[in-house]
């Protein structure tokens, strides 16, 4: 099973998400109320490390462990980035969780967040059904 590798990377990610409390409703509230630097620190330092890593991989033309070339798909702009972004922001402030944390919270024993996760799956489903009628 070559996908098992991703299960391990996911485990590390889930562990960090819970230990850093970025999955906490309280920390998300603190962030949106500008009462703590914690979330801003996590996000900006993650971006800085990601940015430097990508630059190193690109400039040194590093290959994957299987010798494949590393390619990253570009993100095309559409109006969904704005409308969808705002809607996600509303949901983020309500549930106190984005998709990664939803999974992590379910694992951490907050069984009620399974409902939020299923509701998120349903939200994605509804988007897929009505997307042709939405501005993009």
């Amino acid at each position: 099973m070559k996908s098992i590798k991703y299960l391990f990377i996911g485990m590390i990610f889930g562990f960090i998400l819970v230990k850093s409390e970025v999955v906490s409703w309280y920390r998300i509230q603190e962030m949106f109320r500008f009462q703590s630097f914690h979330m801003y620190g996590v996000l900006t330092s993650a971006i800085v490390v990601g940015l430097i890593s990508i630059q190193i991989l690109k400039r040194l033309k590093v290959k994957t462990i299987n010798g494949e070339e590393i390619t990253i798909e570009k993100k095309e702009f559409n109006k969904g980035n704005i409308f969808g972004g705002l809607i996600f922001g509303f949901g983020w402030a309500l549930t106190g969780a984005c998709p990664g944390p939803l999974y992590a919270l379910v694992g951490s024993g907050a069984s009620i967040m399974l409902v939020a996760l299923l509701s998120a799956v349903f939200g994605t489903y509804v988007y897929g059904v009505i997307r042709d009628r939405l501005p993009h």
Binding site: V23, S24, F32, V49, F88, W92, C98, A120
Partner: protein, 186 residues
């Protein structure tokens, strides 16, 4: 051992999260992102005529393994190595939470509002079900979430991701400052 049960500061957690980006690229040329797993679950589980869910989700199954790993990581960190202390908030945050009637700080979220009984109240339904729906609908409409846009996208200097991230924050601020106070007093 203490380090494994205590909460981690931002300067440890943030860089480690950033390392997910090269870890996934090096492992198999995969781009960091979580919200697409919600789409794969729809494609795999819900029968539909929508073209949006007709694609080879099995080709993206690594993403589902990754998501399942997150659940397991959450279990290790939140159950086996649970932080025995309540979440530490500063005075300003505690004052805001008191306004919402929150007095109990055990666990990662207010237990009064996030439990199975609360689900049957209007407030609980909005926080859990409506909130979850908006997360799933919004992230797919936006083409990514905090990981795919804010971390992966901005790290790769994608300006649409920067716009999306600004909108995540604008949405969160509007909800927190103008709508949530009413919801919390329902």
């Amino acid at each position: 051992m203490n380090f494994l049960t205590q909460p981690w500061p931002w300067y440890i957690a943030g860089p480690l999260i950033g390392l997910m980006v090269p870890a996934l690229l090096l492992t198999g040329n995969k781009t960091f992102g979580i919200s697409s797993t919600l789409r794969h679950i729809c494609a795999a589980c819900i029968p539909t005529s929508s073209e949006f869910f007709k694609y080879d989700w099995r080709g993206h199954s690594w993403n589902l393994f990754f998501a399942f790993g997150i659940i397991m990581g959450g279990f290790f960190a939140g159950v086996l190595l649970q932080n025995p202390n309540p979440v530490q908030l500063n005075e300003a945050a505690v004052a805001s939470m008191n306004q919402y009637g929150i007095k109990e700080y055990s666990g990662l979220m207010p237990q009064e509002f996030f439990n199975w009984h609360a689900l049957l109240t209007l407030r609980g339904f909005i926080l859990i079900v409506v909130g979850g729906f908006m997360v799933g609908f919004g992230t797919r409409y936006a083409g990514g979430c905090t990981s795919g846009h804010s971390i992966m996208g901005i790290s790769n200097l994608q300006w649409p991701s920067l716009i999306a991230t600004c909108c995540f924050f604008i949405g969160g601020l509007l909800m927190t400052w103008f709508v949530l106070p009413y919801i919390m007093h329902l």
